[in-house]
Symmetry: C2
Subunit: 472 residues, 2 copies
């Protein structure tokens, strides 16, 4: 077989490849009939009898927002424990974990107070998670717009001191995968406050992390650097960010800020865990999980109620189908992904201490949208071995509209990386995620039952294939 330049020969080679693949498919059909049949039963069961959508309804509408340390987070722990308990699993338990307890306080105020054009104008704002408050009287400052943390350093103390720094670099709309655009902008939210504080700023405003242009402010965690003064930080809606930016081109703008959010003392909480014990390798775990906490606005429907109920449905489906796994299958609902990651850390610490190897962990934390595949990551030493093992799964996955690719994982399962197992992230359609992410409109009605359920079925399929064909 020669590789020849030009389209015509290329087509011929392609035809040959197609024939070769068909031949492989035919041989595959015989040895893989049982697997394909079982996968069909997973989908039938999931799409007609799965409980994920009903569970999500309860979690969003009856429990609601459930930030770490809140009474609602405790309700979510108890509800999901009871639901897992009702599935007839081998074991359901709570794993204690101490979590930070941040509260938003009164409704935030961000008000332009001196515009010759607009007069007084309120902006749609939300304090960033972990932020300190302004105090009850609020504060006033002149706004200076920047596009990056680097720009703050470049401007230096002379320009920044005493100001309110306004980070306004948008997410890049031209990127097909919105998580890439998020990754390219979110440093402003996470690190912008401390960066500005180093140069004497009194507060920061951050353009909301979304590709949409609307009036919805997006909260999300900031991290204060040790040894740097802690200053208040708030997100403003993208339409308001555009307005403020335009105004700043014309005149100096002063803003009044008031928020009363604060970090309180840590509280006890739990990861919620359910398990079907492996018949052959009880100490080798295949984990599915999401995070049970959410931000305190909205209902935490896509982020990450969806991932929780999908993970629960994986065990429900396999249990109902009477499947006896070789490996131990665990559903883990992590606490405190949003503003600390304490649940993921505690889980991995215990697993490593108890020498419970996690052959694979699959996290769903990108929304309950149409599943398009999974991304795999692992320690550099072992990734090639794993890729060779799991890439043939694509024969099963592609007819389901799924593709397994390199690069994935999730923040709750990340701490398991030293065990050198496989870390998978479910990859759904990402186009709508940042319309709702960390907002008061991340509500139940934004989740489609079939898309949510197809995600659960996809995860169940991957768990099944890993249990049948995977090895360390």
């Amino acid at each position: 077989m020669y590789v020849i330049w030009g389209m015509k020969m290329k087509v011929k080679i392609k035809n040959f490849l197609v024939l070769a693949l068909i031949a492989l498919t035919v041989t595959a059909t015989w040895s893989q009939e049982a697997e394909s049949e079982f996968i069909k039963s997973i989908y039938d069961q999931s799409l007609t009898k799965g409980s994920s959508y009903d569970w999500l309804h309860y979690l969003t509408k009856k429990v609601g927002a459930r930030l770490s340390g809140s009474p609602q987070a405790a309700a979510a722990v108890e509800y999901t424990r009871q639901m897992l308990d009702s599935l007839g699993l081998d074991r359901v338990w709570l794993q204690p974990v101490d979590v930070p307890h941040w509260v938003r306080g009164e409704a935030e105020q961000v008000r332009i107070i001196n515009s010759t054009v607009l007069g007084t104008q309120d902006l749609h704002a939300a304090s960033l998670g972990n932020s300190v408050g302004t105090g009850p009287l609020g504060l006033v400052g002149e706004v200076i717009e920047v596009k990056s943390l680097q720009e703050v350093e470049d401007l230096g103390r002379a320009k920044i001191e005493g100001k309110i720094v306004f980070y306004n670099r948008p997410m890049d709309k031209t990127l097909h995968r919105t998580f890439m655009a998020y990754g390219g902008a979110v440093d402003q939210r996470g690190g912008g406050a401390s960066q500005a504080a180093k140069y004497g700023a009194k507060a920061v405003l951050v353009r909301s992390m979304t590709t949409a242009t609307d009036d919805v402010p997006h909260t999300g965690a900031l991290r204060y650097q040790d040894g740097v003064p802690q200053i208040p930080a708030l997100a403003i809606a993208t339409r308001d960010a555009d307005l403020l930016s335009q105004l700043l081109k014309q005149e100096a703008v002063k803003v009044f800020l008031r928020n009363t959010c604060r970090m309180q003392k840590p509280e006890p909480s739990f990861n919620v865990i359910g398990e079907i014990t492996g018949s052959k390798y009880p100490n080798q775990v295949i984990l599915v999980g999401g995070h049970l906490d959410s931000w305190d606005v909205g209902e935490g429907a896509h982020d990450d109620g969806a991932g929780c109920v999908q993970s629960m449905q994986v065990l429900q489906t396999l249990k109902r189908l009477g499947y006896r796994p070789q490996h131990t299958l665990r559903c883990v609902l992590f606490m405190n992904e949003e503003n600390g990651g304490a649940g993921g850390e505690a889980y991995a610490k215990a697993a490593i201490a108890d020498n419970i190897f996690h052959l694979a962990a699959i996290e769903s934390d990108a929304g309950g949208f149409l599943p398009l595949g999974f991304g795999l990551s692992a320690d550099a030493e072992v990734i090639d071995h794993y890729l060779e093992m799991v890439m043939p799964f694509n024969d099963y996955l592609q007819p389901l509209g799924l593709e397994l690719t390199k690069g994935g994982g999730g923040s709750d399962i990340g701490p398991l990386r030293p065990q050198k197992g496989m870390l998978f992230g479910l990859s759904p359609d990402s186009q709508r995620y940042f319309d709702y992410h960390h907002t008061h409109i991340d509500t139940f009605d934004k989740v489609n039952e079939r898309e949510l359920t197809l995600g659960a079925a996809a995860m169940t399929t991957l768990v099944y294939l890993l249990d049948q064909l995977g090895s360390p």
Copy 2:
């Protein structure tokens, strides 16, 4: 190369295939750099400066529902003509077409009147398009449930005469592609009335065509058979269908029906057409299109405002990029897809009479959701030739999350089939489509800007590739 049974050898063969594909990719990179760069510019332009979402806002919120023959349909014609006219195309015109003019009349009533369990109970109902009405006094009849047209024949006149036939076969939720489930159920809506009338039924109720369980009735066209009495036909919401079915297991159920819908005289209307004339093959057309009419409930946002504005954006994007096509590119907004198909028929008739060959026609009429690919169909004589020609496009499409497959098209471009060109249908994520299809909740807010725009970019990319690389 031997095809050997078993997984290990399979992996080796696969590795070989992967290497071969990498080699092909490298050769491809050199010859295809210009194409890839232009496609990138299509996406950048579409995602940052496209007008489809704004146009859709006007079409849904300012014009609204636009059933054939209605004043709103005329407004939609005029609005889209003006918008196309603003793009600086070579030619924009209206193609006359006479259309049926059906009107819904007063709000429908479907009421259980004799239940010992429920007493009187109103059901959520919508007359099927083209249906006759009951007359102002309504009618009362006993309900008989069936699961198919065949069952009506099996039951025969003895059981059917004088009854209200209730078609209640659900769409199959286990089918991954919801259009397959729709295709498996929609004969009840299209042909159920005449089938029941043949055996003396006085009216029919049809379970709404959706996978969702809710209170939303779904209208849609029925076709009366010639020579069979025309009886009223209404869709009821799926939750009501389940209720009625359960009740029928316990007792005989009588229902009162009243609707005042009617077919009026045909009205003049138009297809709206915009064109960039081909520099090399002006008489060979690559067409993009959707249908401008919608049902009279809701706003016709996904069905098919989305397809119209996407098609308009294809020409907008290529025009703005200064692209000079070899073939003539046409955007055609068809009238009367929903209840007659007159626009598609008139367009094809004129094209065939004028000897304007349509190398390809791409229809978007499956909703403005995340695009996943295109399906291709063509006359049996030429399909293999076309498949061989366009399958290599997948090298460009797959990195964009798109796949070109066999089997597709659309009802408006179907009449072009005798020309033996290519007929493509855009295939978006189908999971949510039947939540909204033909209902009062098919509204602007159900459309995501990025998903809509990605569909337009996908169509633009296919048009570009066909223009560059396609030949009859």
